[in-house]
Subunit: 134 residues, 2 copies
């Protein structure tokens, strides 16, 4: 299974903010298929804090092409969100993006418009400090 | 550049139906980046017939996971469609899917709902005969 290189960074950042990790490999079982089985997809983290439930898709954007990684991140986010809406509608999905990628690639007008259009919920993480900056 | 293994099959199927291929590697230049430069993405075909303009994203779904290929196909389709809306709004985007994949994976309720929700325009191609069946 593919684990994003920064999966553990995001896990520790969540814990620092008081989240309890309830699944390190969160799987959404739709019967037709389990999203967790998806070899090429990044694993989701599931966490809870004071009754609030979240799932986090971790993206490092270290592939050769940010655009191609964004295609994948967008499709995966929408499919996961739609799957959650069926199976666990009280869990909110976030896309975790590294700070330097957020400050550059995500500021481009096309990507910024896409984030807004598809209502991607972003959280931004700092790899060195293992914290969320936004 | 990644060329889908069935790129030429779809090209010939288009020609059989009277389309003129106007670009074998159609590129959408948004200034910020050219989608054509996207190494991991499949190339678009551009074609015209009687004043109608289309672009076709070819997907073979021969990766290890159909789900993961669908994540990518969906994200890429939406980004391409949004880019076309800016640069060339009179060109309609289609996603070309192989017949056996359409008859199995795409009939699942989750995928079928996703196709409808995101208004993916599908064309279905037969690899042996190099024609569109739908």
């Amino acid at each position: 299974m593919a684990r994003d290189p920064f999966h553990n960074v995001v896990r520790r950042a969540l814990e620092k903010e008081g989240w309890t990790i309830t699944a390190d490999y969160y799987e959404i079982d739709l019967g037709e298929f389990k999203f967790q089985i998806d070899l090429a997809a990044d694993m989701l983290l599931a966490a809870e804090r004071e009754g609030q439930k979240i799932a986090v898709e971790v993206k490092s954007f270290i592939a050769t092409s940010n655009v191609s990684e964004f295609h994948n991140a967008l499709g995966q986010f929408l499919n996961y969100r739609d799957a959650l809406a069926i199976k666990e509608p009280d869990r909110t999905l976030f896309l975790a993006v590294r700070l330097p990628v957020y400050e550059t690639f995500f500021q481009g007008s096309f990507i910024a418009a896409s984030v807004q259009r598809y209502e991607l919920r972003l959280v931004i993480y700092d790899v060195e400090q293992e914290i969320f900056t936004k």
